[in-house]
């Protein structure tokens, strides 16, 4: 049976990836999951310098979902380099660095640093981050700025470049065209959905920043639709994600054409979910008499 997939020049031993922000920097989840079993492991989003993130509460449970407002807290490149990178040298699994910045310059900076690390196999750019030069709106809310950012990063990054889109990308068609032209290698779809929650007891917003990102099972049918929409408009390979809990959820993404999928929120409630899903996919392929997972990808047209 073949589970190997090629996303442009990035080859994964199987198409199950751990999504950024839901598996730490590796050490935290390693006691529960053999990292070499997954196709790739995405690091929690890193910026060049440490970032403290948002005040609590940072998480709120909704019907079959969670809203998070972690605010991109991270230890910064240097501490990652010292504290976590050595641990990651023990594994063969592909490692994707997820990066962000508050300015194009900050993005460039972390991109260059990550690009220089041998252990990092690909770089995923989170573009759903507040752009302080544009008054705090997300980079993805302005197609032109987004294209600028991507062009800039492509020059700095020789490793496979993954752009991670959110649900409200401005001017999506043009941005997709631009990315193909500039040589972006892979797209990740999708980041969390902007959402709101009110504390009715205290008559206030739950989160200090009012809105927060919705993820988990609740969003699956919406994320799947988004991935589908993007697939219709580009030939770039896609890592699909959003609400995957079980084998069947992952299969839905493959069937509409995602070359790989990432697991996010499910890791919070079951750190070994990835292995069960990989095993579930094997069982399904056997049942359906399919030898190569690539024959499944995009089968539903």
């Amino acid at each position: 049976m073949n589970l190997q997939v090629h996303l442009g020049n990035l080859t994964l031993s199987n198409p199950i990836i751990l999504a950024s922000g839901t598996a730490g920097y590796g050490r935290e989840i390693a006691p529960y999951l053999d990292l070499d079993r997954v196709g790739a492991f995405t690091l929690k989003g890193l910026s060049s310098t440490p970032w403290v993130g948002n005040p609590p509460p940072r998480i709120h449970e909704t019907y079959a979902g969670i809203m998070n407002s972690i605010g991109l807290e991270n230890k910064g490149f240097d501490r990652f380099f010292r504290e976590d990178l050595p641990f990651l040298e023990n594994f063969q699994t592909k490692i994707i660095a997820n990066i962000w910045g508050k300015t194009i310059e900050e993005y460039s900076d972390i991109a260059k640093k990550m690009n220089g690390l041998e252990r990092i196999d690909a770089i995923e750019v989170n573009v759903s981050c507040p752009n302080i030069e544009q008054g705090g709106e997300s980079f993805s809310s302005n197609g032109q700025v987004l294209c600028q950012l991507i062009q800039n990063l492509r020059q700095k990054i020789q490793k496979p470049l993954i752009v991670k889109l959110g649900p409200n990308t401005d001017d999506l068609n043009n941005v997709l065209q631009f990315m193909e032209k500039e040589g972006v290698d892979i797209l990740s779809v999708t980041n969390t959905f902007p959402a709101l929650a009110i504390d009715v007891e205290n008559q206030s917003y739950i989160f200090s920043r009012k809105t927060a990102g919705l993820s988990g099972p609740a969003i699956k049918p919406l994320a799947l639709k988004l991935v589908y929409d993007v697939i219709q408009r580009t030939r770039l390979p896609i890592i699909g994600m959003g609400g995957i809990m079980k084998t069947e959820d992952a299969l839905e993404y493959f069937l509409i054409g995602a070359q790989a999928v990432a697991l996010g929120s499910v890791n919070l409630i079951d750190p070994s979910a990835a292995v069960q899903i990989i095993e579930g996919i094997k069982t399904y392929l056997v049942q359906k008499n399919i030898f190569d997972i690539n024959d499944l990808i995009g089968k539903v047209r």
């Binding site: 935290e28 006691p31 609590p56 509460p57 940072r58 998480i59 998070n68 988990g216 099972p217 919070l268």
Partner: protein
Amino acid sequence: MKRAKIVQKRFLGTSFVELWLEEKDIAHLASPGQFVMVTTGSSYDPFLKRPLGILACQENQFGLLFEIVGRGTQILSQLEIGDQVDLLGPLGNGFSLNPKEALLIGGGRGFVPLYFLAQIFINKKVPFQFFFGIRSQEEKVLIEYLSQLPIPLVISCQEEFSGFYCGTVLDAFENWRQQHSLSKSAPKIYACGPQGMFQTLAKMDDIIPNQIEVSLESRMGCGYGVCLSCAVKKKGLPGYFHVCKDGPVFRLGEIEL
């Protein structure tokens, strides 16, 4: 992930439940102050596991004791003997276990990790005093529960009812302090309770917050350090601790309340 079978269940009044679960590893490894993340069922609504402190361990079993406060604990209260639950644990860092002398201060359900600690101290013959405060008569069941241990107990209740000191647990503690001259090597203080109790404690006279160990609650996504949800502000430093990894036991002086 671990799977544990419920082997004992008991309601304490209407809003507290004691569960005993069979899971060897947790029962053997857990230390007071540590916690487990427990699923509320096979549905994704509610989605997250719930953090619950470990009450005690015995052979291959460990106990939990929780208050029914919302949907998750409501569902957990409906579990029956024989049911299985998925869980992660033991998680977090527990209390230090080798003081010369100790004072334990618990408010409401906050007594859970201290109950476990008290058992260890009894075994280790560490002298200690246990201060326990409840808000109202409804929590009286907890006093009865705690009285099972052969320990020196000072009880307080914020509602007037016969026999107990009337006031907060810290009032009772202060009152006791004034009556007893503390030994030279002042006893180590361990506390667990609501936010307000910690805030008051930190401001009391002759208290060195950095020598007090407190066990915090916070909203948790994962309980094992990946999601960074469980932030609590560092005192005097930028940034946050993460309750599930850096705690739940902290020195009172190192956190902003």
